[in-house]
């Protein structure tokens, strides 16, 4: 417990300028859990979206520092949304999440323009901070 707290504190110190997060996932239970966890770790969850289209709109409207983006969305894949978000020289950080393992997706994560991938069960502020530019 101590290590975790220490780690969280340490990481939080490193991301003090990038704390706004947009959570994109079609499962409300995950969105709620992720929001609670990240807010407890000092992140500012500024919005949620349940599909790719609304995620693009929310990102355009809210300008989050980080988009926490589920790979499987009802209307399009998280890779497509990541590519759209990071295209045209955008500086937004995208962290892909999934209940599957990263190796299930091969090179798609890297090719999408996202910062990286975190399994949902291992989600934490520290894992996100480690992937930011």
């Amino acid at each position: 417990v101590w290590l975790a707290v220490y780690d969280l504190t340490h990481r939080c110190a490193t991301i003090e300028n990038v704390t706004s997060v947009l959570i994109v996932d079609d499962h409300p239970s995950f969105r709620a859990s992720a929001r609670a966890l990240l807010e407890a770790e000092g992140f500012d969850v500024i919005g949620e979206a349940a599909d790719g289209e609304s995620a693009l709109q929310a990102a355009h409207r809210l300008h989050p520092d980080v988009v926490l983006l589920d790979v499987q969305l009802p209307d399009r894949t998280g890779f497509e949304v990541a590519a759209l978000l990071t295209g045209n020289g955008s500086r937004v950080n995208v962290v892909l999440v999934s209940s599957r393992d990263c190796c299930d997706y091969g090179p798609l994560v890297e090719e999408s323009g996202a910062n990286g991938f975190v399994p949902k069960a291992e989600l934490s502020g520290a894992r996100i901070a480690a992937l930011l530019r």
Binding site: V1, S29, A34, A40, Q72
Partner: protein, 596 residues
């Protein structure tokens, strides 16, 4: 005239008469003494070795060869001694010709012999010729008898009514009847001919007349032991040695030949029956590919629409083979002709109606009915088989696809359901853990919510497991599993029949999924108020029936659910039918064999 004169006159008259008599005898008369001196020679002197004048007064030893002299003098001595006539035959060369003489020697006194010599050369020659002729005739007869008795042909001599006079050894050997008085006089038709053919034989005998062509008849004969023979008979008129009108019956035993012929006919008839009955396409082709005059069989006609009339003489590839395959078929056919061996190939044909059929052909050499080597082509119509194979392949593919789809569905359900809840649970636990020291109450709330999430995750996992394979079906059988389905069904369910005993597991599983899918469809589309389910076991089949009172209109061709059920049932050699007239509900019946 004195008495002496009168007696002398009488004596002279007697001598004259005697001389006249001697002159009248056509033979040569020689008188000679006991020592061999010729005293008189009269009569036919053409047989003398010298002139009469030269010889009279001479001795036989001066004119005749020594061996003849010895025999003449010996004969003369025997005649004198016996005072009787002795006969001697001897040969002499007279005028360069060998001649035979007969001398009859009679003693005229104690010292004189009168020998009447006759030239018997012509008579002897005639006698020898006759003897020679007789021998020839005897040889001829022996030859004829041998031929008649050894020739492999039955010869019977009979009278005009057909009564037996005699017959040859061949007839004896063949029929077992000896040629003797026990059969002489009896009708040929009664002794030898089969009773069913005897009337025809008698008629043939009666038709025989002098100067007409012989009668010919093939009829059955019976041997003495009852064995049946088939005889090819020729009956002809003949005159016998006494000039009597007879009938000669010449019969050839053709039993074996006829049996062989009948066997060939039987085999040909059998082959004909087989060719007509077989469902395979048959035809005979010339080496150049034209359909021979032997033609095509009914199966060929039934499949292609071409009969002998329209097929014979035409190249079969032009007649029936699919245009794009003609060149390949010609190559295959030429190869079969060249190899002289059975040659298989496959080709599509086009019927007269334009339908395409897939045929597996074999081409093999065949000696035709006209003794020429041709090709017999036998085709097996594999169209339906190929169609079934394609259907099976498609069914397998659909089953695999359905399995894949089911796996995808399961993975999705796991991912979207229990897995998401467990992820949330994981995050909640870590959040609670982080809050435990600073905010124990908040951590407790999080843990409580996590417990609820865990309960939901477990429920979803149970439902998923049931969907993979219901434990109820495995543990308690089809009846209990269907009852369980019925309790969760969207409409009231009546289960009207269930088998008392367990069915094989694959059959129970197939029946369960048919019912499960049918109930799912009822819930989605049927708008029914009630459904009835029955499962019965009839003649080794499980008959599954699901009927509802909904809107009907279900179609096997639409969607994958019913199609998947058909595949699953057909995979067990069963069949599934759907009756679903619009507005009259839907009835699904699956028959699944369970004692395969």
């Amino acid at each position: 005239m004195s008495a002496n004169d009168s007696g002398l006159d009488e004596l002279r008259r007697n001598e004259a008469r005697l001389q006249a008599l001697l002159d009248a005898i056509p033979d040569l008369m020689i008188r000679f003494d006991r020592d061999g001196t010729y005293t008189d020679i009269t009569g036919n002197t053409s047989g003398l070795v010298r002139s009469r004048e030269e010889m009279i007064g001479g001795n036989v030893r001066d004119f005749l060869p020594q061996h003849v002299v010895d025999r003449v003098m010996s004969c003369a001595e025997r005649a004198i001694a016996s005072k009787s006539t002795q006969t001697l035959e001897y040969e002499l060369d007279v005028g360069g010709e060998r001649r035979l003489f007969e001398a009859r020697m009679t003693p005229s006194s104690g010292d004189e012999i009168v020998s009447i010599v006759r030239d018997i050369t012509p008579a002897h020659r005639l006698e020898r010729e006759l003897a020679e002729r007789l021998r020839e005739v005897q040889h001829e007869q022996a030859f004829t008898r041998t031929v008649v008795n050894t020739a492999p042909i039955v010869l019977l001599l009979c009278d005009e009514d057909g009564a037996i006079i005699r017959f040859n050894d061949t007839a004896e050997r063949l029929t077992g009847y000896p040629d003797d008085e026990r059969v002489w006089g009896r009708l040929v038709s009664q002794v030898f001919v089969h009773p069913e053919d005897s009337a025809a034989f008698d008629t043939a005998v009666q038709r025989v007349k002098p100067g007409r062509l012989p009668e010919e008849i093939e009829c059955r004969w019976l041997t003495k032991t009852g064995e049946e023979l088939i005889m090819d008979c020729t009956i002809n008129h003949v005159l016998d040695g006494q000039g009597l009108h007879r009938r000669i019956v010449a019969g050839l035993d053709v039993t074996e030949r006829e049996r062989a012929r009948l066997e060939v006919v039987r085999q040909r008839d059998l082959l004909g029956v087989v060719a007509r009955a077989t469902p395979n396409l048959l035809f005979v082709a010339e080496p150049d590919g034209r359909i021979a005059w032997e033609g095509v069989n009914p199966a060929f006609e039934a499949v292609t629409g071409h009969d002998d009339k329209s097929a014979c003489g035409r190249e079969f590839w032009e007649l029936v083979v699919a245009p794009e395959q003609i060149d390949a078929v010609r190559v295959e056919f030429d190869a079969s002709v060249e190899s002289g061996e059975v040659h298989p190939f496959s080709a599509e044909l086009v019927t007269q109606a334009g339908e395409r059929r897939t045929i597996d052909w074999t081409s093999r050499p065949l000696v035709g009915l006209d003794s020429r080597t041709k090709q017999l082509l036998c085709g097996v119509d594999v169209t339906e088989r190929e169609r079934h194979l394609q259907e099976i392949r498609a069914s397998r593919a659909r089953l695999v696809e359905a399995q894949d789809a089911e796996r995808r569905r399961l993975e999705r359900n796991l991912h979207d359901g229990a897995q998401q809840r467990l992820v949330s649970l994981s995050l909640a636990l870590r959040l609670a853990q982080a809050k435990l020291a600073a905010d124990p109450e908040g951590a407790g709330d999080i843990l409580g919510a996590a417990g609820d999430e865990l309960t939901l995750a477990l429920a979803e996992l149970r439902e998923l497991a049931r969907g993979i394979h219901p434990a109820m079906l495995t543990d308690r059988g089809l009846g209990a599993a269907v009852e369980s389905l019925a309790t969760r069904a969207p409409v009231p369910i009546e289960v009207t029949a269930m088998p008392d005993e367990r069915l094989p597991a694959p059959v129970e599983a197939a029946a369960f999924y048919v019912i499960s899918e049918a109930l799912a469809n009822i819930g989605k589309y049927a708008q029914a108020s009630v459904a009835r389910i029955s499962v019965t076991s009839v003649d080794g089949h499980a008959v599954v029936e699901i009927a509802d009172d909904g809107v009907g209109g279900a179609d096997l061709g639409r969607g994958t659910g019913l199609r998947g059920l058909v595949d699953r049932v057909e995979a067990l050699d069963g069949r599934l039918e759907v009756e679903s007239p619009v507005g009259e509900g839907t009835r699904i019946v699956a028959e699944i064999p369970w004692n395969r």
